[in-house]
Symmetry: C2
Subunit: 342 residues, 2 copies
DNA sequence: AGGCGTAGTCGAAACGTTTCAATTACACTT
DNA sequence: AAGTGTAATTGAAACGTTTCGACTACGCCT
């Protein structure tokens, strides 16, 4: 394995000159640069990561912190991870994956101070996210995939669930639905301040309010059986419900089943829209469900780019990015057909 | 950030002594060891990854190569990745994620020679996997999650799909089915030699053969619509089909739909078993499908352990591990009820 | 008593970069 | 002609480990 010394010898320059040529840290004459690069090419030279990391400030390694969520992993997440990994590599960075729990702050502090990584992209962001303080204190660059309650000075990219929920209410209202419910994740997840849960619900509430419709909300574990049971609770709150918005895709088959047991057909008697799920999940269900899909790949890319720009001190225009979700109409939503005893 | 020098000073020993105490590379008196560890504790010392990597032979970083498959990503994979990441960390290793394509051998060669990682765990293994030659030549330790055609001298862990398929045939035969079909992934994936596809099919063939049953095989893209269309082809081959085994979970809803259009009910008129999928996917479908599930988390763990043991030159008993899959009976499989005009 | 092996420790030389301070070369000012 | 400024280049000192060779005690053998 050739080193910088070999390259320097071959090009007939000093070691430091090679370094400057590679990194562009200082002006180098065009002619010298050519010779250096030619030498590198000839020798098949690759800079040693460790020497770089040791000597310089930067390691060119970033971390993706993905605390595996209790609510279960979706395909959304993996699209995201893949896109982040690719983007990192395209920019000449390696990406390590940290999966330890959110609450394991000691572990996080240790790894943070280790100096291995130049920065972190954080997934699974909560409204009051404790990781932020740690990274701020350590002076470690980071970007968030998600939103906190207070976003001052933060850089993040997030799908605009609040807007998505409002739009979904609007979409259903236009189909004639006047009693639209909302099925959130579990109460525990909501109370912990998990961003998408909180904001989707907020959007829903705004949506029904501006439309002058009643609000019906239930929380529900991410399981089929919980979904099955929760339809009763929803109908206890509002017996006239004809449509349901949810971000809990795992509970959906249960809801559908419960609807079927009432003799309801989907979407004729009952409409269902899932926010935040992905096509490959939606198409597994019968009927395939209408979704509002976040742009996962774009988010992974932007999250990493946001981080790298910060690490490299590039001027950044927009560091707080909200991306729109896309409504994909499938077989679970349609015009309101039921007429309540009028 | 404290360094070894600080620790050495505080413990009143030489730097090298600290190093020996940490790594156990040379004998150290119990008393000195105690003092060194106490000093480390007090100072919150963490060894610097780069200095280690530079000075020593090892980096304590491993890579997980996960070329995102064309057939689409399942939840299986993410369980796997998470478990691998955790295992790495538990053993004091960092894990970087490589997602570039299988065919991008140049990229792979570069990263391999870079010397960043001590070894690689390879996912998505094909029967004739080109990565192996690269790693062998470079002398880089690796372990495989999957099987190649020739397994001499390789270390791998894999779910025993062949056995699983045979068992599944047996299970269905016991339920009275005498015409059991097999739905594979796409022909392209099969021809490329993707392990699970090849071996599940082989197991199926063995299974039907030993049971004296006819064999019916079709290939199918991983989409709902392809599944829908393929049931026709299957029935064209064997009109008496009453059960279907598949490893193509994405096509399943299509098959179910096509069965429903024929007026068949599942599982009364037609049984369906999915090999290699996971519970959270199976439960989304209506009815929830019977699966034969690979032990993903165990495989991730073992794959990483196999690699680390090799890196650390530990004696290894069993380096070729086949793990059994688990049959989970849900609502898509049951006794054969149809009787063909007898 | 002298020599020898061994457990425990130390000092210093790598490892391959980045980066700082210093030097050269050269054109331009006065 | 001497001085000034700038672009291009150099040499050497970090960076924080691992590891090799050497050195001390000390008990054991002859």
């Amino acid at each position: 394995m050739p080193t910088m010394i070999d390259v320097a010898k071959r090009a007939g320059v000093a070691i430091s000159t090679v370094s400057y040529a590679i990194n562009g840290t200082r002006p180098i004459s065009e002619e010298t640069r050519q010779r250096v690069f030619a030498a590198m090419e000839d020798l098949g030279y690759k800079p040693n990561v460790f020497a770089r990391g040791l000597a310089g400030k930067r390691s060119r390694i970033i971390a993706l912190h993905f605390p595996i969520p209790e609510r279960g992993v979706g395909l959304t997440e993996i699209e995201f991870i893949a896109s982040a990994a690719n983007t990192a590599r395209e920019n000449g960075y390696e990406m390590v994956l940290w999966t330890f729990e959110m609450h394991d702050l000691d572990e996080l502090r240790q790894l943070t101070q280790q100096g291995l990584v130049d920065g972190v992209v954080a997934m699974e962001v909560y409204e009051h996210d404790q990781r932020i303080a740690i990274w701020r204190d350590a002076g470690l660059p980071f970007s968030l995939i998600g939103l906190t309650a207070n976003t001052d000075g933060l850089r993040f990219v997030e799908a605009d669930f609040e807007q998505a929920a409002q739009d979904t209410v609007h979409y259903l209202a236009q189909l004639g639905h006047t009693h639209i419910g909302f099925l959130n994740q579990s109460r525990a997840v909501y109370d912990a301040g998990y961003g998408p849960g909180v904001r989707t619900q907020r959007g829903y509430e705004k949506g029904v309010q501006t439309a002058g419709l009643p609000s019906t909300i239930q929380y529900c574990q991410a399981t089929v059986s919980a979904g099955f049971e929760t339809l009763d609770s929803l109908l206890a709150q509002d017996p006239d419900l004809t449509a349901l918005i949810t971000i809990n895709d795992r509970a959906v088959p249960g809801v559908m089943q419960a609807a079927a047991e009432r003799g309801w057909r989907i979407p004729d008697d009952f409409s269902l829209v899932v926010i935040g799920s992905s096509a490959s999940i939606a198409e597994l269900m019968t009927p395939p469900v209408t979704t509002v899909e976040p742009p996962n790949a774009a988010m992974g890319r932007l999250g990493v780019e946001l981080l790298i720009q910060q690490i490299e001190d590039q001027e950044q225009k927009n560091v707080q990015i909200m991306l729109p979700c896309t409504l994909v109409i499938r077989g679970s939503s349609g015009p309101c057909r039921r007429d309540f005893g009028k």
